[in-house]
Symmetry: C2
Subunit: 446 residues, 2 copies
């Protein structure tokens, strides 16, 4: 059987490797448009923060290992331009300018996502950067050095913007951040969001909310980010306003697109064409809380979907339950985590949500070194179900979010979660884990 994979990062290479492990006789070809495969994209801010490290350290497995050890026909510099589902072929152009065509029995689309770049004047100027591919990372890192960048304007305040803010500040580069919306982290309760904002500001990054960027202008060696009532000047501009699924190929081939124009897939990762699968940031997923479709582009889901697609293609039926929307990021000395639904999302999904916001300690009573942990918990008044948790704190947040995440996979009620037997020792938390205290408090409101 001929398996063709478009895209050689997390989902694509996971799938290709898994398919060959499942059945070494499968004929697996991967077409990757860049020269890079299998790298830790999420690690880029932490590499950019260190002027000495090579960004290629982030490559998890070299292309040759996939080729020689795993027998995968991995073709880099191969950009697919069209899919013909009726003839089961794809066509495109190599970086060297050679046209190519491949046929397939089963096709996996793993084209990922791309940073959104507003269609405004000056966003194509040299020094205006976005961060998604390893090559983006290379460009940013090189530009900082070659242009002796001392000040960066970041457009956007999502987690990549914040991680990059930290990375740049750790190199003593000045940072100003700007976004059009008036609310810093709209998906987060104000008390928690304020804690994050204070942390960022305490590291001398300036934040400008409620300013719509109109254009970027080059002025000598500087770049001016121009809003109606504010102009920010930097040596470099980072655009981090979100990503969008790379689903044009699929769309042009007539495949159904779903949430946020991601490629619509079922729990087996099959698209609307039974011979075509999609996985990773280009595809949608089921949400375990709502049971409906969602699009949350994250690394674990991409790897897992790659595996599941490979399993299904190679005859081992697998259904993915879906995502809980679990995510964590670090910004300076804070850990920020979430799982499940916000109040807003819960209301829109037809729940009757109630929330509680508590402030507790990262270590036991009288244990030295404790810091504050903020927890927001959302539950449903109608069913008593736990719907979501958000947390902010200096320690003990990143992994603590996983317990409520598993609870969401099991449709646990807040009451049942409140009875969970969680670990306790004084260096690691209060006797009642902060999420248990939140559950106990929330029970009074639902």
């Amino acid at each position: 059987m001929k398996i063709l994979v478009i895209g050689g990062d997390a989902a694509g290479m996971s799938a290709a490797s898994r398919a060959k492990r499942n059945n070494p006789d499968l004929d697996v070809t991967v077409l990757e448009k860049t020269m890079d495969v299998s790298y830790s994209a999420c690690g880029m801010p932490y590499n950019i923060s260190d002027p000495i490290r090579d960004i290629d350290d982030l490559v998890v497995r070299q292309a040759d290992v996939f080729r020689d050890k795993q027998g995968i026909n991995l073709l880099t510099g191969h950009c697919v331009e069209s899919i013909d589902p009726s003839n089961r072929t794809v066509a495109g152009m190599s970086l060297e300018g050679k046209a190519f065509q491949f046929s397939y029995d089963k096709l996996l689309i793993a084209t990922g996502g791309s940073p959104i770049v507003p269609d405004l004047e000056g966003f194509d100027l040299s020094g205006v950067m976005a961060l998604k591919s390893l090559d983006d990372g290379r460009k940013i890192k090189t530009y900082i050095t070659t242009h002796n960048v001392r000040k960066v304007v970041i457009i956007g305040m999502g987690y990549i913007a914040l991680e990059m803010c930290e990375a740049l500040r750790s190199r003593s580069i000045d940072v100003e951040m700007v976004k059009p919306g008036p609310v810093f982290l709209p998906w987060m309760e104000e008390e928690l969001s304020d804690a994050v904002r204070k942390e960022v500001e305490s590291h001398q990054a300036k934040m400008h909310l409620g300013h719509q960027v109109q254009k970027i202008e080059a002025l000598g060696k500087s770049l001016n980010v121009i809003c109606s009532d504010l102009t920010l000047e930097g040596d470099m501009v980072l655009v981090a306003v979100g990503i969008t699924p790379n689903s044009e190929l699929a769309g042009h081939a007539g495949l159904d697109l779903g949430v946020e124009k991601a490629i619509a897939v079922d729990r087996r990762l099959t698209t609307s064409d039974e011979n075509i699968y999609a996985a990773g940031d280009c595809a949608d997923a089921y949400h375990v809380v709502t049971g409906t479709k969602t699009w949350i582009p994250l690394a674990l889901r991409a790897n897992r979907a790659g595996w599941a697609a490979a399993d299904n293609i190679s005859g081992k039926a697998v259904e993915l339950p879906g995502v809980a929307g679990t995510a964590v990021f670090k910004v300076f000395d804070l850990e920020v985590a979430r799982t499940g639904l916000t109040m807003d999302a819960a209301e829109k999904s037809g729940f009757e949500p109630a929330k509680v916001v508590i402030k507790t300690r990262s270590r036991a009573h009288a244990h030295p070194g404790a810091s504050v942990i903020h927890v927001q918990m959302v539950g449903d008044k109608k069913t008593g179900r736990l719907l979501g948790v958000q947390m902010v704190g200096k320690e003990g947040v990143a992994h603590r979010i996983n317990a409520p995440a598993v609870a969401l996979h099991n449709q646990m009620t807040v009451a049942a979660y409140g009875q969970a037997d969680l670990a306790y020792a004084p260096p690691f938390g209060p006797t009642w884990d902060p999420t248990l205290t939140a559950a106990n408090q929330l029970l009074k409101r639902i």
Copy 2:
């Protein structure tokens, strides 16, 4: 209604407070034999490690607060000596030598546990200590100073022994540990247990396994711990070979005792007498994995059982699902955690267990500062269920254990757990959480 509580620590005071919150009109009396109530017993090693801090810092709430603010009739220095279930009375003696008797409508026994002290020669010598009550902590702390203790022999190698080893070493006190069994942590896979042992030994604590202690002898200012083939000398001896439930009162009153002679209670914390409840280290509990009785004396369970007993007594029916056996301790720079069953316990409970032991990283590929995380996971071949997890590592272990703990509460299969949407960011772990990698590996064996 007259509610009488015997014991004023975690379970007892939680229950008394909860009962008054539920219904301020309840007549609640607590009889505590010591002068201390409501303190963080688990915090004692971390207080003893610091010569400057007062051990009374560990008191969470002063007795007067319970009396004046909460209206609880809290009587310290009141040692109950007998319970008469047919007349619903208890009798005893106060520290001042006054006999007392109280009647009750509902009685809660929250007498806790006591350290096991072997019935051997010399275990009653001055300088031979055990650690359970705040007064034990006071005695140890004072003895170290007044006797200028430079070397301690610890009998036992459980978590209290190890926490105390760390506390003493942090004060530059020499430590030798001895136990009769040949295996360091018998409930833990050898590879994980070896990692803990190396950590302890790297902090210059000597460990002697396989030596049965025969007696302790005073020799001048020293204490000699004498085994058949080994004599250890110290300025102080700490006996930490485990604890036993304080169930004699209940036993003499004719109440049923269960696992390890703990007081047998149902899911509502009722004993074999419908007017008598028991909660905390003196009582048994259901295990959520086996569904059968177990006795695991830990702080969270004690607090939770106290609340549940109070709720049931004050007319709000609550059933506790039980414990998963989740626990964590810190020893020097290692976090050691467990939840659920070991291979051994799983076999004894009628499962057909298989296990996997993996070694992975605490941070993402190429992220600086990563250390090793060891994970053992146990699953059932017959049902595919997840049965237990153990973990050891320098970071990211303490809270990570809670995700599989919640999975155990939900009787999740290893396959379903392997699909859980857990958080990922490079500073906090690999893309696949270590417990997910363990689940993926274990799936091949069950």
